[in-house]
């Protein structure tokens, strides 16, 4: 490349970078020329390749090694030409774009580490999933807590409907299920036919229970649910305060239930008395018949109680 070409190149560059200070190449070249040195001479003295000296004078970044080296070359060159090295280097650095060479891992990581993106994503997904499950569980808990109120209303409604059924077909009525699905599955078990006794059921005749069923008790136990739903007082009602196995058979010998009932549930039976009852854990069960407390303690033998309740005259009294 001739000198005139160099000049035009330099001029173009300086006009392009008006805001930046002049690059050091031109100054180096001029200093070298005033000392009557050729590029080759300088290159051999500095032990540099001629093309690097040319690149330094032309400020040609593309054919130069990384900046750390270029700064060193400029210093040695400037010192050789008795130019102020710091100024030259400063002029070079002000035009510098990427000051530091990038240092990157050369070895592909074979082992997955906890800082890898996929691993982190999976971890977060697991956490989010657990959080979602927690929320679902919480939401599922909420209605269960409200259930007692609702379900008693439902039960009342069902009971209210019962006496109005013309056929007197009866129903059970059982219980306060903890979950809807369970109710669906188990309801049929408790269904008992009342076969025309339905009309008699609603009128409570004076109780002649042999047991000392005090009259005061129903009043004490009276809750609005009972008051609202008079029919609820009919039939046999069992409240479970503890888990207990139970078997109930109606007058026809039909088994209404025979399984373990969880604590906190209530079962109701309507149908043909007398009912034959076997309780696996009698102390945990409270029994009401025709709306009155039925004391089954006399029948208990080491927690197990076997007795009959109700009389074929539909009303009550039976004992076994």
């Amino acid at each position: 490349m001739s000198e005139s070409e160099n000049d035009t190149v330099d001029e173009q560059r300086t006009s392009k970078q008006k805001t930046l200070p002049e690059r050091p190449g031109r100054r180096l070249r001029e200093a070298r020329e005033t000392r009557n040195l050729s590029r080759e001479e300088v290159a051999s003295e500095l032990r540099l390749q001629t093309r690097i000296v040319a690149a330094l004078e032309e400020d040609d970044d593309s054919s130069m090694p990384p900046s750390a080296f270029v700064v060193g070359y400029l210093r040695s060159y400037a010192r050789r030409l008795d130019l102020p090295a710091d100024e030259i280097v400063r002029a070079h650095e002000q035009n510098l774009e990427g000051p530091q060479p990038e240092i990157v891992p050369r070895v592909r990581k074979s082992q997955v580490s906890s800082r890898d993106l996929p691993v982190r994503m999976v971890t977060w997904l697991i956490f989010i999933g657990l959080g979602a499950l927690l929320v679902v569980w919480w939401l599922a808990q909420q209605p269960a807590l409200e259930e007692p109120g609702n379900s008693s209303e439902v039960a009342t409604a069902a009971l209210k409907a019962t006496p109005t059924t013309p056929e007197g077909e009866a129903q059970t009525v059982a219980e306060r299920p903890e979950s809807a699905t369970e109710t669906d599955a188990q309801l049929p078990v408790f269904v008992a036919e009342s076969e025309g006794t339905a009309s008699e059921e609603p009128d409570p005749v004076e109780p002649t229970t042999p047991e000392p069923a005090p009259e005061a008790q129903p009043q004490a136990a009276e809750s609005e649910a009972v008051a609202q739903a008079e029919p609820a007082a009919t039939g046999l009602r069992m409240e479970f305060e503890a888990d207990s196995w139970i078997q109930v058979t109606n007058a026809d010998g039909q088994q209404l239930v025979s399984r373990v009932i969880k604590a906190g549930r209530t079962l109701r039976f309507t149908g043909k008395p007398p009912f034959r009852v076997i309780l696996g854990y009698a102390p945990g069960v409270t029994i009401h018949y025709q709306g009155e407390r039925f004391d089954h303690t006399p029948y208990m033998r080491s927690d197990v109680a076997r007795f009959s309740i109700g009389s074929p005259g539909d009303d009550q009294g039976g004992e076994g």
Binding site: R47, P101, E102, V104, P105, K109
Partner: protein, 350 residues
């Protein structure tokens, strides 16, 4: 647990634990401490024979050779490795606390520390440095080889598949290494450095002038008129020392050519090490090095015309890194950052 909590109130620091100077680079802040690795110990009067740290760093260096009987100023590092374990630990503790002093006063600092060790250091010496730093309160200690840190600090392209040669002349040792692809291809450590230059000057003055000069004076001579290659200009300095024959302090003048002569022996040690390294370098990397050149770092690179000497002796272009004194500490700091970005397996950290 408590350490990681205290870590919230501590910096990530890189320490160039040198024989002559200790430099601390704090991530995000730059070089925050540059003090001589000197500790002054005062012997307490009394039956217990207790020793106390009297001064550390610059203050202690001023005491070197000027101490009364009950104070000793010592350099706990020798030849780049720990010579006195307890004192090194105390010194590190002092420096680490000093770095944290202005910002996190309420907590005892518990920083992550990266320490640069000479590549010639043995396993025992490395372990001593590690334990010393842990004893000084570091939460985690990493070690990096000095030439690697120096190359990173000098801005060399060590990740490229091309050879880079770095010569780090420290106080106690000179490290020479050829690096490529983030690793060290060849390394060697010679126990020649700034201290040997000082000793050579002291010996020369005693031999030729019959006068004894101290360490500090020898260092001042080296800084002011020391040269590695005959130049056009001859500089002079007036020094004072004790005349051995008369026993009286005398003043005399030294010139740069005399110092050049005095330094011949340690300099030839360095030149030989460089030549050996070039011999041992695989030819492909040798070609890269001869094209780009050899990079000088460390305090020794500031010796006047050392690059000219190496250019003449090796025929390679020789480059003095920008700010050669802090290259290792800066490189260590950068290595800490890279380690966080890319994981610990980027360099051979320990």
């Amino acid at each position: 647990m408590l350490g990681s909590f205290r870590g919230l109130f501590s910096y990530d620091i890189s320490i160039d634990l040198g024989t002559a100077n200790t430099l601390i680079y704090v991530r995000g802040e730059g070089i925050v401490l540059n003090e001589p690795s000197v500790v002054a110990i005062r012997q307490e009067p009394g039956p217990n024979n207790t020793k106390r740290i009297s001064a550390v760093g610059v203050e202690a260096k001023q005491m070197l050779g000027r101490t009364p009987g009950n104070i000793t100023a010592i350099r706990p590092m020798k030849d780049g490795v720990i010579a006195d374990f307890t004192i090194t630990e105390k010194m590190l503790q002092h420096f680490i606390r000093k770095v944290h002093e202005d910002k996190f006063k309420a907590f005892k600092p518990s920083p992550r520390v990266l320490i640069c060790v000479p590549c010639g250091a043995t396993q025992v010496e490395r372990r001593a440095i590690k334990e010393s730093a842990a004893g000084a309160g570091a939460r985690e200690v990493y070690l990096i080889e000095e030439p690697m840190a120096a190359a990173i600090g000098a801005g060399m392209p060590i990740s490229e598949a091309s050879g880079s040669m770095v010569l780090d002349i420290g106080g106690g040792t000179s490290e020479i290494a050829v690096l490529s692809l983030n690793g060290i291809v060849y390394d060697n450590s010679v126990r020649v450095g700034g201290d040997r230059f000082d000793e050579a000057i002291t010996a020369y003055v005693r031999r030729n002038y019959g006068t004894l000069i101290g360490e500090a004076t020898a260092e001042r001579i080296k800084h002011q008129i020391g040269t590695a290659y005959p130049g056009a200009e001859v500089r002079e300095i007036e020094v004072r020392g004790r005349n051995l024959a008369e026993g009286i302090p005398r003043s005399f003048t030294l010139n740069s050519n005399e110092i050049l002569e005095a330094l011949q022996e340690p300099l030839s040690g360095i030149v030989t090490a460089v030549k050996t390294a070039l011999e041992q370098t695989p030819p492909e990397l040798g070609a890269d090095i001869s094209e780009r050149g050899l990079v000088l770092t460390g305090g020794g690179a500031l010796l006047r015309d050392l690059d000219r000497l190496l250019v003449e002796e090796t025929g390679l272009p020789v480059i003095i890194a920008e700010d050669p004194l802090t290259c290792v500490a800066r490189g260590g700091g950068r290595a800490l950052e890279l380690m966080d970005a890319h994981g610990g397996d980027l360099f051979a950290l320990e």
